[in-house]
């Protein structure tokens, strides 16, 4: 139909990427099905496994409720009050989204562990807190730490999306706080609550690192951790496979539900008019806002401070001389580099084909489908994927010997959704703006790459690689499965140091990891051109 415009090989890169995704996604799944069968019965007959499922749901549900319960008044207070440090706080809330979980856990242990700041402070005034960090309490605390800021930001943006004129109108009509809540705020928030809740639920349901570090034994184990334990503790391949399939099923259901409920997250409105709310002066409101904000700050700030101040201790220098630390750093960097290269290569493969589908062949739906295949792999939780890979490779290879490459592969696959999303606009822009021009000038092959694609892609590629590297640098799931004495990454080292309570060493590791991630983040925001 369109002979001059269609390249014969347009499908090649996409097909290659799809093939790789298919092999890496379906292979392990088939291995699991083969090993675990589809039998659902054993799971429900075993009291322990039943408990694991119940606990996964319980902790995710409670985490969601608590996060939202705190986020709503905090978002409201942030919207009502403009105080010094507010924008810094919002930035910190944003950073908590990309902060590797294990670093934050270090902060939480430093603050809430038996010897942490808070119990010591309380003990000095005669209050014995006992240990509350291990088990359900700690898991909830950590999930609250991660998800409350996410929810508060999201809800605050929803409130800020209410036109400033509405607030002025409300002022003229003399609305009080209660009426504002009923007539303006609640309608603005209501629609966001279900998608937000389902997102947080999914995140907490498959939370691995937190539960590994704070779970403390079988009493507080989620499905994802149980998969890991069945494989690494019990060598029960069939149980591991069954648990993995259950995890896949439940996670898939939760994600499908989330997809049903999903609404686009509100963008940050840069309204020229600051909403002038009529209810900012009343002392009661001030007290209430003060209370919620203090609560949020007390929850959120001390662990962050603990990570940074840990670096001020003199023991840090001792810990920094550890050979193990630098070896882990090297391994982490290698894995991060490899994973981000892999993720970008697969993404580009998908995107070059999808772009052709969309632009030249006029098949936008097929193109979107191809692009979203990159996110599909994320539906399979890491523990499931790695268990499958493990079972697949066990008979034919030394799995631990391959650990390095497998972790790289899993990390690369896991950051595909981010890299696809980062690269897609740049590639799309290249054709939307310049495709006809390039065609009319006969820019093809290398010339097209050199003078059109590469200059437009370069910045996005840098961003995508940095994002993928940040992700990989914080990963614990894959390395837990394939990690060994020979494969030591920074997060895994930190996890072990936390577990054996070597807080001085852990401080050095956490600080190094934090520095790496923030400098990469800085590169993402500054170094690679326009922040989108």
């Amino acid at each position: 139909m369109n002979p001059p415009l269609v390249h014969k090989t347009w499908w090649l890169s996409g097909a290659g990427a799809l093939l790789l995704l298919g092999v890496c996604g379906l292979g392990p799944l088939l291995a699991l099905l083969h090993e675990g069968g589809l039998g659902a019965a054993p799971l429900w007959q075993d009291a322990y496994l039943r408990h694991v499922v119940q606990f996964s749901v319980l902790q995710a549900g409670l985490s969601t409720l608590l996060s939202l319960g705190l986020a709503i008044p905090v978002a409201r207070a942030l919207h009502r009050r403009h105080f010094p440090g507010r924008s810094l706080l919002l930035r910190l809330f944003g950073i908590s989204l990309v902060l590797p979980v294990i670093i934050a856990l270090f902060g939480l242990v430093a603050v809430h562990g038996q010897q942490g700041w808070l119990p010591r402070l309380l003990a000095s005034v005669g209050i014995q807190t006992g240990s509350y960090l291990y088990g359900l309490g700690g898991i909830l605390l950590a999930h609250l730490f991660f998800n409350m800021p996410l929810a508060a930001r999201w809800l605050l943006f929803s409130l800020e999306a209410v036109p400033a004129e509405n607030w002025r109108l409300a002022s003229q009509l003399g609305m009080k706080s209660g009426a504002l809540w009923r007539l303006l705020e609640w309608p603005a928030l209501r629609g966001q609550l279900t998608p937000l809740a389902s997102l947080i639920f999914v995140l907490c349901f498959s939370s691995f690192t937190t539960v590994m570090a704070l779970g403390g034994g079988p009493g507080a184990t989620t499905l994802e951790v149980a998969v890991y334990q069945a494989l690494r503790f019990d060598f029960e391949l069939d149980t591991a496979a069954q648990l993995a399939l259950w995890h896949l099923l439940l996670c898939g259901a939760a994600l499908a539900l989330h997809h049903q409920l999903a609404a686009p997250a509100p963008g940050h409105q840069h309204s020229s008019l600051r909403a002038s709310r009529p209810d900012t002066r009343h002392w009661l409101g001030l007290c209430i806002d003060g209370f919620w904000l203090s609560l949020a700050l007390l929850l959120f700030i001390p662990p962050l401070l603990a990570i940074v101040t840990a670096g001020l201790k003199p023991q840090l220098w001792q810990a920094l001389t550890s050979h193990q630390l630098w070896a882990s750093l090297l391994t982490s960097l290698q894995i991060g580099l490899g994973a981000s290269l892999l993720a970008c290569a697969i993404s580009l493969g998908l995107l070059f084909s999808s772009r052709h589908l969309r632009q030249r062949l006029g098949r936008p739906h097929a193109a979107t489908l191809l692009e979203s295949s990159g996110s599909l792999i994320l539906l399979i939780p890491t523990a499931v994927l790695s268990t499958g890979l493990f079972i697949l490779l066990l008979p034919v290879a030394d799995v631990f010997g391959l650990g390095f490459w497998l972790v790289m592969l899993l990390n690369g696959l896991a950051c595909l959704p981010y890299t696809v999303r980062t690269l897609q606009p740049a590639l799309q822009q290249a054709v939307l703006r310049y495709d006809r021009l390039a065609m009319s000038l006969g820019l093809q092959g290398w010339s097209r790459w050199r003078y059109l694609e590469w200059p437009l892609l370069r910045a996005a590629l840098g961003r995508a690689m940095a994002l993928a590297a940040i992700f990989s640098l914080g990963d614990l799931g894959a390395v837990a499965m394939f990690g060994s004495d020979e494969l030591q990454t920074l997060p895994w080292l930190l996890f072990q140091q936390l577990g054996s309570y070597r807080l001085d060493d852990a401080a050095a590791t956490a600080l190094l990891l934090l520095l790496l991630c923030t400098s990469l983040l800085w590169l993402v925001e500054r170094g690679f051109g326009d922040p989108r």
């Binding site: 415009l5 703006r433 021009l437 065609m439 009319s440 000038l441 006969g442 093809q444 010339s447 003078y451």
Partner: protein, 263 residues
């Protein structure tokens, strides 16, 4: 700076009032023939027939949605016709990729790569891989000079004004040396005085370089001043095509209605 730099360099002799007759048959046929070139797009039917001769400036006017851009897409090779013929030198053009057709197209926007310098942008017209010989770079400089762009060669397009940017695109179409130039309202974003200057420039290109130019315009009154012929496009078809004097004499209702004149 703009007032000075927008003036046209004094490179032109007085414009010849060339008004080639529309239906001349030549043995070595350098005329572009477009016969019943048809396309169904978005539920609408388009069918185009017209000729374009070397050295003539044909202005295409018509209400928006009539199919002006569709026609340029068809000619340029960015979409493919369902039926009909597009002939030049007895050769069908429809199976050729955009770059091999005898056209240079200037789009409404994005005619330049914003990340490449003016010199590179013009040079791409000579060779798309930019491996230019010294003589070819000389050619680029000459074209730039002709359009008054010599001092901007190392700049990026975003550092130029809108008029200068379109002039860079024109310079590139010069070095491409294609017999036909298709202009898709490239000056519509410019202010009226500048637009008029650019139109004059285009007219000179047509007459001096013997380039056949198809110009889509939103400003038929302005185009009258420079056009050799005017074509009116309505509802997917060319309803009228003739010289400016024919236009004035004709009792063509469509044209009159479009131009808002009483007949």
């Amino acid at each position: 700076m703009s007032a000075h730099s927008e003036t046209i360099p004094a490179l032109v002799a007085a414009p010849e009032p060339a008004t080639p007759e529309p239906a001349i048959k030549e043995t070595n046929d350098l005329t572009l023939h477009c016969r019943d070139l048809a396309l169904a797009r978005g539920g609408e039917q388009f069918r185009f027939s017209f000729n374009l001769q070397p050295g003539e400036l044909l202005v295409l006017v018509g209400p928006s949605g009539a199919g002006k851009s569709t026609l340029l897409d068809l000619l340029g090779g960015f979409v493919t016709a369902d039926s009909g013929a597009l002939l030049w030198q007895q050769q069908p053009l429809q199976s050729l990729p955009p770059a091999e057709r005898p056209f240079t197209t200037l789009f409404q926007s994005h005619n330049l790569f914003d990340h490449l310098s003016v010199q590179q942008n013009i040079g791409l017209g000579v060779r798309p891989d930019l491996r230019l010989s010294a003589a070819q770079w000389q050619q680029v400089s000459a074209a730039a000079e002709r359009l008054g762009l010599s001092e901007f060669l190392s700049r990026l397009p975003t550092q130029l004004s809108g008029g200068q940017q379109q002039r860079v695109a024109l310079a590139r179409s010069l070095v491409r040396q294609r017999p036909f130039l298709l202009l898709d309202e490239p000056f519509s974003a410019l202010d009226p005085a500048l637009r008029h200057e650019m139109l004059k420039e285009v007219q000179q290109l047509a007459h001096q370089q013997r380039i056949g130019i198809l110009l889509i315009s939103h400003h038929p009154e302005e185009a009258r001043g420079v056009a050799d012929r005017i074509a009116l496009l309505q509802e997917g078809e060319i309803r009228f095509c003739g010289s400016v004097s024919e236009l004035d004499n004709s009792a063509n209702n469509d044209m009159a209605r479009y131009l808002g004149r009483r007949s």
